[in-house]
């Protein structure tokens, strides 16, 4: 096994890109990352994507993106793990470089969701859940998260308004991220008045439907110094899985897949939660942010929300989350999200996060969740000291 480093990153603005196709979104991120890395050729390309078949009528994205990115001929394919597809693609890129099978690998996450009509997008997203026993009963993906949120409030005695700090923090941070979809502030009062979409989940508990692409270039860490002025080492890359269906879990309010994934990541990196300077968590819904904080060891069971209420998730808090807006406000183009998270951790570790810079950030963690917790991929990145 070789150490692996990220030598370049790129991203498109997240939003409703009516004028840009799926392939061109991917292309924009690929080119930005390759320019940042200063490379013109790679050995392989892995594309993280969930919904291109359902929403764009296009599968076979590996060869497609490779061709349009000027990389025709290289090894390339799409990797799918629902909303965890982006980090799953990064994981495969990591495996290829760490195993010595490739030297320079580009990973791109891309999703184009806004071309389709609402009910079709809702149906497509529900494919992250158990098709025979969740989606077939008419449950949307939002509804599955709503069931978790209601039960969480019931068991631990929280009110809906207690979830406001996640949206407030994410929107606050997105204001300083030029690539974010929602660059406006949200107050607790505005959160209280937001439209209910699937009770208790309201519009500001939920990440938006959107388009976007993000990319990273990987290289062996020992070569990275000569290739990049600011290489970032991947000190952990770990996956945990759990049941697709919430009803099959031992305790629906415990993300066992996330706990496994983070535990493996901490072991690989030889660190614990107290060493992590920032955490790009999977805040597709505010309940997921709370459960993720608990599964990753930042809070005890039922106390993830307490961390947010106590003001510990801001840039200057004990564990900054969603430092560039998170899924909530940067946006959640599902198959691209896992790569966006890693791009943002790289920005932080390079010291290029502007007004959102976490002071002296050395170790950053990104965690991408497929479905309601069935595939959880965790990466820990470290600034390479001179």
């Amino acid at each position: 096994m070789r150490d692996v480093a990220i030598i370049g990153v790129g991203q498109t603005k997240v939003g409703e890109h009516w004028d840009v196709s799926l392939r061109h979104l991917a292309l924009e991120a690929v080119q930005a990352a390759m320019t940042d890395a200063g490379v013109t050729r790679t050995d392989a390309l892995y594309v993280g994507n969930m919904l291109s078949g359902e929403l764009a009528g296009q599968e076979h994205l590996g060869a497609l993106v490779a061709d349009f990115a000027g990389l025709r001929g290289i090894e390339a394919f799409k990797i799918e793990a629902a909303c965890g597809s982006g980090a799953a693609a990064l994981r495969m890129g990591y495996v290829a470089v760490a195993g010595g099978l490739a030297d320079i690998v580009i990973v791109v996450g891309v999703e184009k969701m806004t071309d389709a009509l609402g009910p079709d997008t809702t149906m497509a997203l529900a494919m992250a859940a158990d098709g025979d026993y969740e989606a077939a009963q008419g449950l949307s993906f939002v509804a599955i998260n709503a069931l978790l949120m209601r039960r969480y409030m019931h068991e631990y005695g929280y009110s809906h308004q207690d979830f406001a700090p996640f949206a407030v923090n994410a929107h606050h941070n997105a204001m300083n991220n030029p690539h974010a979809m929602f660059r406006f502030p949200v107050t607790a009062e505005r959160f209280a008045r937001a439209k209910m979409i699937c009770d208790p989940i309201n519009l500001l508990d939920s990440s938006p439907i959107c388009d976007g692409a993000a990319a990273v270039v990987l290289a062996p860490a020992d070569a990275a110094r000569t290739l990049s002025a600011a290489p970032i080492r991947i000190v952990a890359s770990a996956v945990g899985t759990d049941t697709l269906a919430v009803h099959d879990r031992r305790d629906p309010l415990v993300l066992e897949g996330a706990a496994l994934s983070t535990r493996r990541a901490y072991e690989q990196a030889g660190v614990g939660p107290e060493d992590i300077d920032l955490f790009e968590l999977h805040d597709a819904f505010s309940i997921m942010a709370a459960l993720s904080l608990e599964a990753a060891g930042f809070a005890d069971k039922g106390q993830g929300l307490r961390l947010a209420l106590d003001g510990e998730i801001g840039i200057d808090g004990r564990i900054p989350v969603a430092t560039m807006g998170g899924l909530k406000a940067r946006g959640h183009p599902v198959g691209a999200t896992g790569v966006y998270q890693v791009v943002e951790v790289v920005q932080q570790l390079r010291g290029l996060a502007g007004a959102n810079q976490v002071p002296n950030a050395r170790l950053g963690m990104a965690q991408n969740i497929g479905g309601s917790g069935a595939t959880v991929i965790t990466h820990i990145l470290e600034r390479m000291e001179d």
């Binding site: 025979d132 979409i197 009770d199 099959d248």
Partner: protein, 134 residues
């Protein structure tokens, strides 16, 4: 939903047939042929009573394609009295009457389809318990 896919699930959809583990006694729904508790093979059919209580619930206003005619509808996780959780719609009840812990029972209802969406699919939903318990 395709006819063969629906047909394969008819024992579960109409009769809540799961499995029981001969080794540890765990009752399993949906069936998975391997006991989630002790990992022993578990292929003995077991019909659930259909009685349980609401573990959590929500209301769907923006349904997936194919479920528009029912919206808004209430969905729930139901804790069956034999142990497993089931994901299903609630029926015969107003959304604002539903509470966590409310006793419910399984009934067979139209779940999906008709018209352009293809064959009508029947399956389980849960309503407030009115049948006397045995």
């Amino acid at each position: 939903m395709s006819v063969p896919r629906n047909w394969r699930l008819q024992q579960q959809r109409y009769c809540l047939v799961g499995e029981i583990c001969e080794k540890c006694g765990a009752k399993i729904f949906p069936p998975r042929d391997v006991c989630p508790e002790c990992e022993a093979p578990a292929q003995t059919p077991f019909a659930f009573s259909g009685r349980g209580e609401v573990y959590s619930y929500s209301t769907v206003y923006h349904p997936p394609r194919g479920f528009e005619e029912f919206a808004p509808y209430t969905v729930a996780l139901v804790r069956l009295e034999e142990g497993p959780l089931v994901t299903a719609q609630l029926t015969d009840v107003d959304a604002d009457q539903v509470r966590i812990g409310m006793p419910v029972e399984m009934v067979t209802r139209k779940v999906q389809g008709g018209g352009e969406e293809g064959a009508i699919v029947y399956g389980y939903k849960f309503r407030p318990a009115i049948r006397p318990t045995a």
